[in-house]
């Protein structure tokens, strides 16, 4: 299991793993306890680090941010599994337990040795990722300090991943819909600078989205480049591979618009496969 975890971490950011034995042990516990939380933590770390890179964080900052994101849910180790994975509505008591997980991160932290200022810094996100930018949210506190910058990144990555991940009781949201809803939280729930950076760098229709065009054709979003606008990426038509990859910024396609995204599985399409084929044909 360790080597898998090592690969997972190094797939997200570079670091000297031998300096993080305690953190890796904690991740191991998370993986063993609840695979969903582990995979979610990896995704949140990927999104956070990717955004950090785009925002120009140094390598040391990215390392700290990566760990902050990987460990943001350590408090869930203390939430009973039957509550963690409950499909039905929580009772008031269960909700209180569930919402105690940022606080339980304190306990998890208190059990870790040795304590260092770096570890403390990396754990800010575990305490703060459910506190809103306007300092509401939970745990409910009267803050004197703004949320730590890492917590502000992790909170956005956490919300996006939770929204776009299938649950037993809830189908995932399409990424563009999630982003549109998240935009409602500008300045109150989320740091406006970080959220704007997140949304714009993903694009209105993130890469891999299956989209319906204004002429009713289906296409896959292949990429954005430095000249792309938010809603005009490069696309590949699903039923017309001969067309190659179209840059919607091009004059030829100025009347073609993306209307919405759709679930690939509803069309029995495999997005990864389609993207690989499209990319292969170009090469």
């Amino acid at each position: 299991m360790s080597s898998q975890i090592h690969r997972d971490i190094l797939g997200i950011f570079d670091c000297n793993l031998s300096a993080y034995e305690t953190e890796i042990e904690t991740l191991k516990k998370i993986k063993k306890y609840d695979e969903y939380t582990y995979l979610h933590s990896l995704n949140v770390a990927r999104l956070s680090v990717n955004l950090g890179k785009r925002m120009g964080l140094t390598l040391t900052m990215l390392e700290d941010l990566g760990w902050a994101a990987l460990l943001h849910d350590i408090g869930k180790l203390h939430v009973p599994l039957e509550i963690l994975n409950k499909a039905k509505k929580f009772s008031a008591e269960e909700l209180a337990i569930m919402q105690s997980h940022p606080l339980e991160a304190l306990s998890a932290f208190a059990r870790n040795q040795p304590v260092t200022i770096e570890r403390l810094r990396r754990l800010c996100a575990a305490f703060e990722h459910h506190q809103r930018y306007d300092l509401k949210g939970y745990p409910g506190v009267k803050r004197k300090f703004n949320l730590h910058p890492y917590s502000r990144i992790v909170a956005i990555a956490d919300t996006f991943d939770a929204m776009t991940t299938d649950r037993i009781y809830q189908r995932r949201m399409l990424p563009d819909v999630a982003l549109k809803i998240m935009a409602q939280g500008f300045g109150n729930i989320f740091d406006p600078t970080v959220l704007q950076a997140f949304i714009t760098s993903l694009g209105a229709y993130p890469v891999g989205s299956l989209v319906r065009l204004s002429d009713e054709r289906l296409a896959i979003v292949m990429k954005y480049d430095g000249n792309s606008s938010l809603d005009r990426p490069f696309i590949s038509l699903v039923r017309d591979k001969e067309a190659g990859i179209l840059n919607l910024m091009g004059e030829t396609y100025k009347n073609l618009r993306i209307m919405r995204s759709e679930f690939a599985e509803d069309h029995e399409l495999d997005v990864q496969d389609l993207m690989q084929r499209a990319a292969g044909e170009i090469n």
């Binding site: 785009r54 606080l103 208190a110 459910h130 300090f145 563009d176 989205s209």
Partner: protein, 402 residues
């Protein structure tokens, strides 16, 4: 927003000549609220009313759901919410949301799609980006600690149910880090603010040692540094010392013990009388200047006990020093009595030769006139090897004098 959305809904219905709004055809540019409703699995909404107030009420409730979802999508259970709008009097359904069956192909381990790359142009002003980076850069150890002490205070006031030990350990860890960062004033401040909360920590000797080993105070800092441990009871301090002799924190524990001996010697005196020999040996070293005549009786008993139950020369020596310090004249008189052949009264049993030798050795370590008088007094009572020993000691006095 609500008004324009309502207008849009009604005009769409009118255009379609239907009561039903199909959400499948919504574009990304449409209302986020309707996109949210669609995202929750609603395929179609039927409006059996055109009453503006009712629609407003429904939209308001849904906007509340949207916000709840946005705040905490993980804990949002859409199936448990009221999506339809009912007539409060007749319970008749006025607005009906048709929800799709849950996604049938759910596979938890495949639930996490790979995250999309972030390759689109970063749409934030350069100055905002730099300001954000600057915010990260200014997170110095001091800043991090201030943040954490603030978090500690806030959590403590808002959360009552945390395990007191876990809480104490957490506060203790933050103090240890603060000390490690050489921020003594701040550490004292944290300890003072969490005085009561810290109490359970003192039972956790590993954590206590961690705090001790985090900082070695200079002489001038000891009185300030000692405040961190204001709630650490001396017996627990002694226990920690006993179990962590030779540890990284031992020198600092000794410094605190020394400080306490200077400032509250009576507490240490009481502990000393009730402690095990190992601890007594440590405490007696600090207590030497603090013995008073009123301690004398208990010191005599303690010496008796040490002579009877322990062959520890050091302990005997320390009790004798204490005895002499408490009352020199009484001490030599009483010690002399031990050497009388028929002496049983004070000591309960006849004192053996080994004990007498220990007493002589202890006395010989601090030569004095009283000591010489004592030797002269007892020379007539001792015989054999012990007599030789006394003579040698007296000879030494004579040589020193000549």
């Amino acid at each position: 927003m609500s008004l324009s959305l309502k207008t849009k809904i009604f005009s769409s219905l009118e255009e379609a000549g239907s009561t039903g709004l199909l959400l499948e055809a919504l574009a990304t540019s449409d209302s986020p609220l309707l996109l949210f409703v669609k995202g929750m699995g609603v395929e179609r909404i039927d409006f059996f009313t055109k009453d503006s107030e009712i629609v407003d009420r429904w939209l308001e409730r849904l906007a509340g759901y949207e916000f709840l979802f946005l705040e905490d999508p993980d804990n949002f259970k859409a199936s448990e919410l009221q999506w339809n709008e009912l007539d409060p009097n007749s319970n008749e359904e006025l607005i009906v949301c048709h929800i799709k069956e849950a996604h049938p192909q759910f596979d938890q381990l495949r639930a996490h799609p790979s995250v999309p790359p972030m390759m689109a142009p970063l749409g934030i002003p350069e100055e905002s980006r730099l300001k954000f980076l600057q915010e990260i850069e200014i997170q110095s150890p001091d800043e991090t600690l201030s943040r954490f002490t603030s978090i500690l205070q806030e959590f403590r006031t808002s959360v009552k149910s945390i395990d007191p030990l876990v809480w104490a350990v957490l506060v203790g860890d933050v103090i240890a880090i603060t000390l490690h960062s050489k921020l003594l004033d701040k550490a004292v401040q944290i300890a003072d603010e969490h005085r009561l909360g810290l109490a359970p920590l003192w039972n956790n000797s590993d954590r206590v040692i961690q705090i001790f080993s985090s900082y070695d105070p200079k002489g001038s800092e000891i009185s300030l540094w000692a405040k961190i441990f204001a709630t650490l009871p001396t017996p627990q301090l002694i226990n920690t010392l006993e179990t962590h002799l030779g540890s990284e924190g031992e020198p600092q524990i000794l410094k605190l013990m020394n400080y306490r001996a200077l400032h509250s010697p009576e507490e240490l005196v009481e502990i000393c009388f009730g402690s095990k020999p190992l601890i007594q040996k440590i405490l007696l070293q600090w207590l030497t200047p603090h013995w008073k005549p009123f301690h004398y009786g208990r010191l005599l008993n303690s010496l008796d006990q040490a002579l009877r139950s322990s062959a520890d020369k050091d302990l005997v020596r320390l009790w004798i020093s204490a005895l002499v310090r408490a009352s020199k004249s009484n001490a030599f008189d009483d010690l002399a009595k031990i050497f009388r052949p028929k002496f049983f009264r004070i000591w309960g049993t006849k004192t053996d030769i080994a004990s007498k030798r220990m007493i002589l050795n202890a006395i010989s370590e601090s030569p004095s006139t009283e000591c010489r008088e004592f030797l002269r007094k007892i020379r007539k009572y001792v015989q054999g090897e012990l007599a030789d020993h006394v003579e040698k000691m007296l000879l030494a006095y004579r040589q020193v004098k000549s």
